[in-house]
Amino acid sequence: MFDPPLIVGLEIGTSKICVVVGEINAAGALNIIGIGQAFSHGVRKGEIAEPALAEEDVRNAIVDAEQMANVEIRSVYLGVTGNHIRGFSNHGVHPVVSADREITEEDVQDVIKNAKAINLPVENSIIHAIRQHFQVDAQTGILNPVGMFGAKLEVDVHVVHGHVNRLKNSLAVVKGLQLNVETVVFNGLASALALLSNEQKELGSLVIDMGGGTTDYAVYSDGIIKHTGVLAVGGDHVSNDLSFGLKVPLGRAEQLKLDHASAVVQPEVKGKTVELPGQMGLPSKTINLEHLHRITSLRLAEIFEQIEREIAPLGWLERLRAGVFLCGGGARIPHIHTLAENIFQLPAFPGKTNSISGLKSALDQPEFATAIGLVRFGSLQQKRKSNGGMIGSLKQTLAEIFKR
């Protein structure tokens, strides 16, 4: 009760499960105090394929984190991804009805409710509805319209939605471990929260989280989220391509990827080979490095091209003045930034989780971006809750007193 509140982010990834424990210190800043991770076996393309295996792996990761931070984890912020998740922007309109045309908090709630009322397939549910800019009459780009005067209030809302049953799969795994899920958060959004500073959001940035099974992306511009999406292609696909193209087992392809992959085929690799030592009954094999790089490069280029193809028609590419930020395991592949720069024609950087203090070892690794982002999301939400909570409860008490 008197301990500082714990905020735990849990990402059930395709290649590994990642837990990050954060706390809000006395100064009100977020501090990372522990991480835990475990290899993931029951997940394909970001979604639970074998719940029993996934549950075991999540337990290991949680225990790992508990030991490191010396705490007991009771509730988590759960990151979700998968091919079924879609993001799109919607528009809501609300006439201001009060006599003096002053916009109140209720009007804001109403207009957001209108914008959220979208026609989704029945089996889909909204994960996030993030307000973008408000518009009062003809005045656009307003962040908080409360107290302003106008006849018509409009708002753009970015809605991220996904398939209910498939979301429930990951929820069930966590709940099976007697953990409470505070809320589910889309991984792409969490990564962006971890990497981007306010200035970068203002300038416009594209965050690409290249995970094992999926590639999640989010576009920020003018300080607000503009677009999110999932491409169910990731590092696993690179390994699979290598395994097929170089005719090696999947496990060895994975190792080859980690040791020798490159996102760009450089002229000097021509004719070079790497020796794959024989082990455990597998014969040694000579691998053509150029082929390895070509296969990797084509796949990674395609991932970027697919993303470019989706966001370019929406006109966001020109507004990304801060550039492209890469995180996830894929961001470790050598020359990946050159490739991203070539395809998006924008500067590309490795994402750094700057705005959070704590374990240096965790913050520097691109794989942890999502889980750290989940903690960040949790801290923002708790702040909001405690602010809103106090005022809200005060309001309620007053209202009750007056009712009497």
Binding site: A232, N240, N288, I295, R309
Partner: protein, 452 residues
């Protein structure tokens, strides 16, 4: 939507007088055989303006059970009204006996819809004959047929396939519904009669959609020629789906229904289709944004397909929206139908089907070019007269050229994709398909990059 051929055909009509244009199109729906009669009977329950329904069967008893007035017992002399016993040859012979009668039925009709269930005797045998006779009398012929259930056995399926090939050679367009797909629409508790009823109603719905497509002049017009261009020369089974919805977000609902339609395999068919015809019908309150809301997802699903789109305003549909979709995919090795091999005497085509295959229209176009005085003559199928040969040889040639033989070889060796790629660890997961490409396959293979 106007194809060049249509404008060619339209020009002389205009000069001969407006009467021809104003003339109401007369349509007959013919149910052939047991299944065909049932479907036609079902279709006749909702009266459509200017459509006559005619039932043809060899089984007099079954025919007598139907309340419809127009019916004819085929080949009374040959079968004595007792049916064909599932022999298509007898069905064909019965229809040939009554060819003169059939011709008189068809006379003066512009479009004839043939409904038949393939696999049995009458439908399989008589429907191609009727199609041929109708074509000879100058009508456009659209056949809508069902293929037998799998449990009905292989002989029946082979019969149905042979009948289908003949029908395709004789009719202008064939839309075909494999009965097996009806299983998806029926659950454990659906009774047999209900299941068959679903089939009938599907055929009737599809027919109504096609009828609307042809008869109603649309804001964006789709005509018979467009329909032919989608179905001609393509895979035998052309899945079709009709969906209707009303209310506030009818456009979303209709798309949802369409993609969930069992005949489209949950939209899977659209991913593979290379020709898709979409006909949209709505009341006068149909809005452009609704059209967009329907077409955008369809277009996204079948990006690489040849998409034909039409919109029709129908007063009767006020407040509602109905979409008819016909998709077909090209089958490898069947770019052009083998009309030369058809046993039917090549009919004189008064009304040219727009979608004659390019190889055959090309010479006639070239001839027109060389001789400007040549009046626009019907693009004939430049088929040389058959060479003299013995009956035996003919039979041999026929089996070699028609579907029967192709079927046989298909059974021996399945069509294989160019390169079999094992998807490795993604073999069992849901495929990631974007813009019609399966992203689970290695990129370098899809891009055709050679690794030496």
């Amino acid at each position: 939507m106007t194809t060049p051929l249509e404008t060619n055909a339209g020009a002389p009509v205009e000069t001969t007088g407006q009467t021809a244009l104003k003339k109401k199109i007369s349509i007959k729906v013919c149910g052939v055989g047991g299944a065909g009669c049932n479907a036609a009977g079902f279709f006749a329950q909702t009266k459509l303006d200017g459509v006559e329904v005619l039932l043809l069967n060899t089984d007099a008893q079954a025919l007598a059970a139907s309340p419809l007035p127009d019916k004819w017992v085929l080949g009374q002399k040959r079968t004595r009204g007792l049916g064909t016993g599932g022999d298509p040859e007898r069905g064909r012979a019965a229809a040939e006996d009554d060819a003169a009668q059939l011709a008189s039925f068809c006379a003066g009709t512009d479009i004839i819809f043939i409904l038949a269930g393939l696999g049995g005797g009458t439908g399989t045998g008589a429907a191609p004959v009727l199609a041929r006779v109708a074509r000879e009398s100058g009508a456009l012929v659209l056949a809508m047929v069902t293929l037998p259930f799998d449990f009905e056995g292989k002989p029946r399926r082979l019969q149905a396939d042979a009948g289908l090939e003949r029908l395709k050679a004789a009719a202008d367009a064939v839309i075909c519904l494999p009965n097996e797909k009806l299983f998806k629409m029926a659950d454990e508790n659906t009774s047999l009669s209900e299941t068959l009823g679903i089939g009938n109603s599907l055929m009737a719905d599809g027919l109504r959609g096609v009828w609307r497509l042809i008869t109603q002049t649309g804001l964006i017009n789709v005509d018979f020629a467009d329909l032919c261009s989608v179905t001609r020369g393509r895979h035998v089974a052309s899945p079709f789906a009709t969906a209707e919805a009303g209310g506030d977000n009818r456009s979303e609902q209709v798309v949802e229904k369409l993609f969930a339609h069992p005949l489209l395999d949950g939209g899977q068919v659209l991913d593979e289709a290379d020709a898709v015809l979409v006909s949209l019908a709505g009341g006068p309150d149909l809005t452009m944004s609704e059209v967009n809301k329907i077409m955008a997802p369809v277009q996204r699903r079948c990006e690489n397909a040849h998409l034909i789109f039409g919109a029709v305003i129908d007063e009767a549909l006020s407040g509602r929206l109905s979409v008819t979709l016909i998709a077909s995919s090209r089958r490898a090795g069947e770019a052009a139908p083998l009309s030369a091999g058809s046993p039917a005497p090549a009919p004189a085509r008064a009304q040219a089907p727009a979608a004659a295959d390019p190889a055959q229209t090309a010479p006639s176009a070239a001839m027109q070019f060389l001789d400007p005085l040549a009046t626009p003559h019907p693009p004939s199928r430049c088929v040389a007269p058959p060479p003299e040969m013995s009956e035996e040889k003919k039979e041999q040639l026929y089996t070699r050229q028609t579907g029967q033989n192709r079927r046989k070889s298909a059974r021996l060796q399945k069509e294989l994709p160019l390169e079999i790629v094992y998807k490795g660890r993604f073999d069992k997961s849901e495929p990631t398909i974007r813009h019609g490409e399966d992203l689970d396959l290695p990129t370098y293979i899809r891009k055709g990059v050679a690794l030496n």
